[in-house]
Point group: C2
Chain length 313, copies 2
């Protein structure tokens, strides 16, 4: 077992990201309802897994992790917008998120729609114009690549399509494949789009910000694909056996709604085995990149992979 202090590492990175987000939104008038609605959700205690991946990736490649902060903040803003819109009455209609009232419950439905739109739009603004909020940031050409990669991951061939596929699966369960191999392939497709794409681009953004070469991008891409899927398998497992107090939300809801999940297809133990295999494949991918200092410097990435299947929320 590694003796790496992941908890301390995540706390320090979390503070870096939170401070950067505060510096972005602190410049705005806090009396504005729109700003209050955006920060309500942005500062509601998210785990900051995606920023941690971007920062740890930049570190693994020998760069100052701060170079990945603009992309980290943009990705966290996009992640938060997706939660706000996902919680809307017209989507999942959820009242609680991370233990606090969802944006439309705390404010109004219209305000929540606009807060989501505002976070998404401002994420791209931060990438294009990081100068007023960040001391260090990648050059213009690299930032344009970040806009390209992040908009691809968040958009109609990534997260937004994943939300659509997920919704269609819930609405028309009769249309889903009944054969378990096909069902598993379809479930992977949904999650590769819905959550995988943004986790993959978190790692890719850290790498691109740090000026990674193609060998590093390939190894890190495989790592990210595997942990992205493991993250979702674990989410499904936690919905079966998680502690609602620790998670800040209800559990057992997937089974209640007869939702297509990994435990429903593979069983609970099968899902746990599958998530462990994915993490093992992720670590193998890191081992395949032979740069001299990478093995030591990628320790946080290895620890995050372990955390994904050991987390309680």
């Amino acid at each position: 077992m590694s003796t790496f202090d992941l908890s301390g590492y995540l706390s320090r990175n979390r503070k870096l990201v939170d401070d950067a987000l505060i510096s972005i939104f602190g410049k705005l008038d806090r009396q504005r309802e729109l700003v209050r609605a955006m920060t309500h959700s942005l500062m509601a205690g998210g785990k900051r897994v995606r920023p941690a991946l971007a920062l740890a990736t930049a570190h693994a490649l020998g760069a100052d992790p701060a170079i990945a902060l603009p992309a980290s903040c943009a990705i966290e803003m996009i992640h938060t917008y997706s939660l706000i819109h996902d919680d809307l009455p017209g989507m999942d209609d959820d009242d609680l998120r991370r233990g606090v009232p969802t944006c439309h419950k705390q404010f109004s439905e219209a305000t929540a729609i606009l807060a989501g739109d505002g976070l998404l739009t401002h994420a791209f603004h931060i990438l294009a114009a990081p100068g007023s909020c960040f001391k260090v940031f990648p050059g213009a050409e690299t930032r344009l690549i970040l806009v390209e990669k992040i908009s691809a991951a968040a958009g109609i061939n990534g997260m937004v399509e994943g939300q659509m596929l997920d919704m269609q699966a819930e609405k028309n369960p009769g249309d889903l494949p009944r054969d378990s191999a096909e069902a598993l392939a379809h479930l992977k497709k949904i999650h590769r789009h819905k959550t995988g794409a943004m986790i993959e681009v978190s790692v890719a953004s850290g790498a691109v910000s740090a000026g990674a070469g193609s060998d590093a991008l390939t190894a890190l891409g495989t790592y990210a694909q595997n942990i992205g899927l493991a993250f979702q398998v674990m989410d499904d497992i936690l919905n079966v056996e998680g502690d609602p107090e620790i998670m800040g939300k209800a559990v057992g809801t997937d089974a209640l709604h007869d939702k297509m999940t990994f435990p429903a297809i593979l069983g609970l133990q099968g899902s746990k085995d599958f998530s462990k295999q994915l993490i093992s494949d992720a670590l193998d991918a890191l081992n395949s990149y032979k740069e001299e200092e990478f093995k030591e410097k990628s320790e946080p990435l290895r620890a995050i992979a372990g955390y994904i299947i050991n987390r309680k929320r």
Copy 2:
């Protein structure tokens, strides 16, 4: 009076933009519900005023208008997303737009939310990676400036804030200034954000795409500010005396909802005089830029200014 054939000019530009949008979305699987929902609204017969401004601005500066097509398409996609979200039950709850069912009426509320999110995200993707859809496009540094300007205009200090201010004005009319000078200033603030910012950035995007210098940007910026406000004043006038058949939507709705509008503050004739003054100021701004060929090449921009206050829909 100018003999310039604006109608033919707008038709040709409209075809340029429509063809480019078709090439962007034609690459996607048309069986996908998300793609169908996005194109339903994008191809529902919009006037394409914003793209026409970007293309006419590039032309006025002596560039091939096609250089402004990526920005034109991005801006039209953002404009369309804002209409889809604005029409949602949680916002204005409109059933018809441009004479056809709104996105959530034709599909579903969740699909409309995601279609809007998808259009907004893909707009930035097109700017970052125009290569697969456009033959000519600005260089990387210019495209990053376009991302910066367009995200600023569309976002929390631009259009999204304008929607918020507009909604607050409708919801809490008692909070609005009662003095007519203050009311006029507040109404201008709402519209400068809600519609003005995107009209201004349409002109600015055409100028930046064409490599404009600071003198041109200043003159064109003043032109755009004035026509942007005139556009909204005219929208309010059309809501009083427009023909619902020509407009494809109901009229008289502002007065019915006791909405703060230019006719409500300035009267109908006062609003018409105000819109004419704004267009006169816009034309003066164009005259202030003395580059040799600009006078002739800016004729489409002058004609569009005239169209804004003479349009019937």
